[in-house]
């Protein structure tokens, strides 16, 4: 069984090729200590020498950096322990208190993060840092107006990278992806040249925005630049693989997804890779990879970590363990009213046959006008199931117009469903 799961070691050929073509080695080469590694090593020396609260806060920051660099959530736990040690020495230490919200966000404890961010803001209302955490917590919880107000305050106090990336997030959510790209370009110009991971992060999100608009060439260029800047970057690999798959380069896409799964496994990557194996006529590998996705969910649950909506979407997309999918999505939705959770809930409800509830959830997901093809696709499928062919056709066409490649299987389903709806749709068109 394990033999069939070949993703553990083989580097992606497409990636190697694209790097060779670019003629550049990554600024951060695999295996060399990264900026976060150096930061951790440096602070650990200081911890030995003088274990003061400031030093533990710096240690927490270094672990946070390592967590984002690797996608390994264990580092959030270590960051939390470092803050605990700072606060054990000085319970009033402001640096540790304001960093608490940041660490809680990493651990997906969004309600607690919001509380911590508000407490830090009360202590230092003119410290822009607190508005960054406030904005992030509010976005994750779906409190978008609060997030916009926090972001406006953030940019007023400190225009720069932290503000520009958060403006981009809100613009993307409210249907302005062109504006999001503008803000991310400003962030890219402001990035520290000595911090390749930060640069790669911005490039990756630029790739996501271009992808969401169906611009494969620009998306691919940004993802490849991210991977040249920071090799094997776990956030960029799935993006590049998705673009390659959309462009029909199935073999190359499989290689990059295999790398992504080896570097930072997620249910979403397992699902996408399984789909590609299936498309390439390898059902055994597809099954094994899907099984790995399910397994990740179980291990995460056993470790007390929630993969929440991502796992729910993976299960719902692949018609596996739909009860769990619904339970996960509903549990998330009980605390988070963000549009992505509403979308996952809607899709899980739809797959479980709860169509009316699915409709209510997808309506909430669409309320900001987010230009997300999968939202439109889910909305269209739900409308079709509810016997509303006009709405269904409009939403499915909108999905395909926004990003004709949005998810290989889903785009195909959307087209097939549109075909089936064609006759009533023409009638409806004449009637209106």
């Amino acid at each position: 069984m394990i033999r069939t799961i070949a993703f553990v070691s083989k580097p992606g050929r497409a990636l190697a090729l694209s790097l060779a073509l670019a003629g550049l080695r990554p600024v951060h080469a695999a295996g060399a200590p990264s900026a976060a590694d150096r930061a951790i090593a440096g602070v650990e020396v200081r911890v030995e020498h003088a274990p003061a609260p400031d030093v533990f806060v710096d240690l927490a920051a270094a672990f946070m950096r390592k967590a984002r660099e690797t996608g390994d959530p264990d580092y959030y736990a270590r960051a939390g322990v470092a803050l605990d040690r700072a606060l054990a020495i000085d319970p009033t230490h402001y640096g540790a208190r304001r960093a608490r919200a940041w660490v809680l966000l990493g651990r997906h404890e969004f309600t607690a993060a919001l509380r911590a961010a508000r407490a830090a803001r009360a202590a230092e209302p003119r410290d822009w840092w607190n508005y960054g955490n406030l904005a992030d917590a509010c976005v994750e919880l779906g409190r978008y107006d609060d997030a916009a107000r926090a972001t406006a305050r953030l940019i007023e106090l400190r225009p720069g990278l932290a503000a520009y990336t958060r403006v981009a997030a809100l613009r993307a959510l409210t249907g302005d992806r062109v504006g999001a790209i503008e803000a991310l370009e400003l962030a890219l110009a402001a990035v520290d040249p000595a911090d390749p991971e930060e640069r790669a992060w911005i490039l990756t999100y630029l790739g996501h925005e271009h992808w969401a608009l169906g611009d494969l060439a620009r998306a691919r260029a940004r993802y490849e630049e991210a991977l040249r800047t920071f090799s094997d970057y776990h956030l960029a690999l799935p993006g590049l693989a998705r673009v390659l798959a959309a462009g029909g380069a199935t073999t190359a896409a499989i290689a990059v997804y295999e790398r992504a799964l080896a570097v930072a496994p997620t249910p979403g990557v397992a699902g996408a890779l399984g789909d590609l194996y299936a498309r390439a006529g390898d059902p055994d590998r597809a099954r094994a990879t899907y099984a790995f996705g399910v397994y990740m969910g179980r291990v995460a649950t056993a470790r007390g970590q929630t993969l929440g909506r991502e796992l729910a979407l993976f299960l719902a997309d692949h018609d596996r363990d739909l009860e769990t999918a619904l339970r996960l999505a509903a549990r998330d939705a009980a605390v988070r009213r963000d549009v992505y959770t509403d979308d996952a809930l809607a899709w899980s409800l739809y797959k479980s046959g709860h169509r009316a509830e699915a409709k209510r959830a997808i309506t909430r997901a669409l309320h900001l006008g987010t230009e997300e093809a999968s939202f439109r696709f889910h909305s269209g499928m739900i409308a079709a199931a509810l016997g509303r062919p006009r709405t269904a056709a409009r939403q499915l066409r909108a999905a395909l117009a926004l990003n004709p490649y949005f998810a290989a299987g889903d785009a195909t389903t959307a087209r097939a469903t549109l075909g089936a709806l064609a006759a009533p749709d023409r009638l409806a068109g004449r009637a209106s």
Partner: protein, 512 residues
């Protein structure tokens, strides 16, 4: 539950994988940058002095030239390709001059903006030797084909400004160079790519005939010298390296008069900035342009700032809900970094206030006065050295950094220069300025340096430590044991040394 017959197989796989890969699975959320540095907008040093090149040593009165310098993009490891180092086109770089001693430095401003031309975005320089392009022999135009990126800038002089909600309103506006873009000097890559970097750098000095001002923007070597590692390690200075002075050293970082008088050797410290480069903006103008009546008389106050653009944020999508308002309808610039006197942000402003301080107009410094008066760093020096420091409110520090005179009612953190003080010739410049002395300890002050303005080679760390520590620290020549960098004094505009080149850079101190 969906437990089908495959459950056991999955469990077996799971176990094998669990053993093989220590599972910790990524749960994604958008973790936007928070702990960020902004090097392009980070002003690390400001210099303000009567130019000490040969021509200016002979000038007097209103004809004398004064140089203003700001350094940004700090800590450049010279070999850091392929992107190397640039200014940010989105940042407004600005010098502000107060010439009527009211503490409000909006009388004359110089605004510098950059524009970048990208020729081949993935590479900084074309490959040479078998490659298609010749070595870089000019910073722009013919001979610059090997540069994949050319950054150019404009300089705008503004006079008689007052602040309004929509930014400064100025009565007079002069575009230097008639508004023409001037090229910056690129990073020093190495001798194959740039065989005569000295000539490239010389091309970066531009003279505007209409105003008599000279400008430079580009890479230079860092001249600020400090044992930063030792200072950050709770002032754990490296006295153990030095010869023993019975009863004094170690443990105290005191120096002998002879050691302290030597402007060419560091007695015991390690300069953390040796071998690093910075990006600099230098503007030199006849002092008559800076003074209110053209007389060339001062004193003048200066600070440098960087500002970044704000962006609009909406609540909700107007297409979905048209009543949702636009929260910030502005693209104004907002100050994100400022600097005048050295080490104020580092030593005086506490950690939680640094960003706020950077965003504040120096004329609003009154809110920070308690930190100057308390001067926590002096207490730290006493704790570490056991050498007593002055007690009570430090009005001497407030006076030195925030006021033109004892009678000055305002508090404004400006670098103040009396332009009637003649510049000291380079061969006579003393790094300890007013505290300079000979090897026997006899005072030999050099009045043309900090705190009368600041020159690139003034040893501000030791001067500030002694002023903060008071008479005992001055008498014992307390310092970090670092005051000199190996490139010495640069006797011509822009008065900072040529940058280290990427291929052959070294990180060593004089005498090491």
């Amino acid at each position: 539950m969906h437990r089908r017959s495959t459950g056991r197989g999955i469990a077996a796989t799971s176990l094998a994988l669990a053993l093989a890969t220590a599972p910790a699975f990524a749960a994604s959320h958008r973790e936007a940058p928070l702990m960020t540095l902004d090097p392009a907008a980070d002003i690390t040093d400001v210099y303000f002095f009567a130019s000490y090149d040969q021509a200016n040593l002979g000038r007097t009165g209103a004809d004398r030239r004064v140089t203003m310098i700001m350094n940004a993009v700090p800590g450049q490891e010279p070999g850091s390709g392929p992107n190397y180092f640039a200014f940010d086109d989105n940042v407004l770089y600005e010098f502000h001059v107060d010439n009527n001693q009211d503490g409000d430095a909006e009388d004359v401003r110089y605004q510098v903006r950059f524009q970048t031309e990208l020729r081949s975005p993935d590479q900084f320089v074309a490959t040479l030797g078998g490659g298609p392009l010749p070595p870089v022999s000019h910073i722009d135009g013919a001979g610059s084909e090997g540069l994949s990126r050319v950054q150019r800038y404009t300089v705008t002089e503004l006079r008689n400004c007052r602040d309004s909600k929509r930014g400064p309103k100025c009565q007079d506006r002069v575009q230097l160079f008639g508004g023409q873009l001037q090229p910056t000097v690129p990073s020093n890559i190495g001798s194959r790519t740039m065989p005569r970097y000295d000539l490239l750098a010389a091309e970066g000095t531009r003279t505007d005939p209409a105003t008599g001002c000279r400008t430079f923007a580009g890479q230079r070597a860092e001249t600020f010298a400090i044992d930063l590692g030792a200072v950050f390690d709770t002032v754990n200075l490296r006295v153990e390296r030095a010869t023993v002075i019975p009863g004094a050293r170690p443990p105290l970082p005191v120096q002998t008069a002879a050691e302290d008088a030597n402007d060419f050797v560091n007695p015991f410290g390690t300069n953390n900035f040796s071998g690093f480069n910075i990006n600099t903006i230098a503007i030199e103008c006849p002092v008559a342009r800076l003074t209110s009546d053209g007389s060339g008389k001062g004193p003048l106050g200066l600070y440098a700032s960087t500002a970044r653009q704000m962006l609009t944020v909406r609540t909700g999508n107007p297409a979905v809900n048209s009543r949702k308002p636009l929260l910030k309808g502005t693209k104004d610039f907002r100050q994100v970094s400022r600097m005048a006197n050295p080490l104020v942000n580092e030593l005086i402003i506490p950690i939680g206030k640094k960003d706020l301080w950077n965003a504040t107009d120096p004329a609003d410094e009154a809110q920070f006065v308690p930190f100057y008066k308390g001067l926590a760093v002096a207490q730290a020096l006493q704790a570490v050295s056991n050498v007593p420091v002055p007690t009570g409110d430090r009005d001497d520090i407030v006076r030195a950094l925030l006021k033109y005179s004892d009678a000055d009612p305002s508090f404004s953190e400006l670098l103040r220069l009396d332009p009637t003080t003649a510049p000291t010739p380079p061969s006579s410049i003393k790094r300890l300025t007013v505290l300079a002395h000979d090897a026997a300890g006899n005072s030999t002050p050099d009045g043309a340096g900090f705190p009368n303005g600041r020159r690139p080679n003034d040893d501000v760390t030791d001067i500030v430590v002694r002023l903060a520590g008071g008479p005992n620290f001055i008498a014992n020549y307390v310092g970090d044991g670092v005051g000199v960098n190996e490139k010495g004094i640069t006797p011509d505009f822009p008065f900072l040394p040529l940058p280290y080149d990427g291929r052959d850079r070294r990180h060593v101190d004089p005498g090491e």
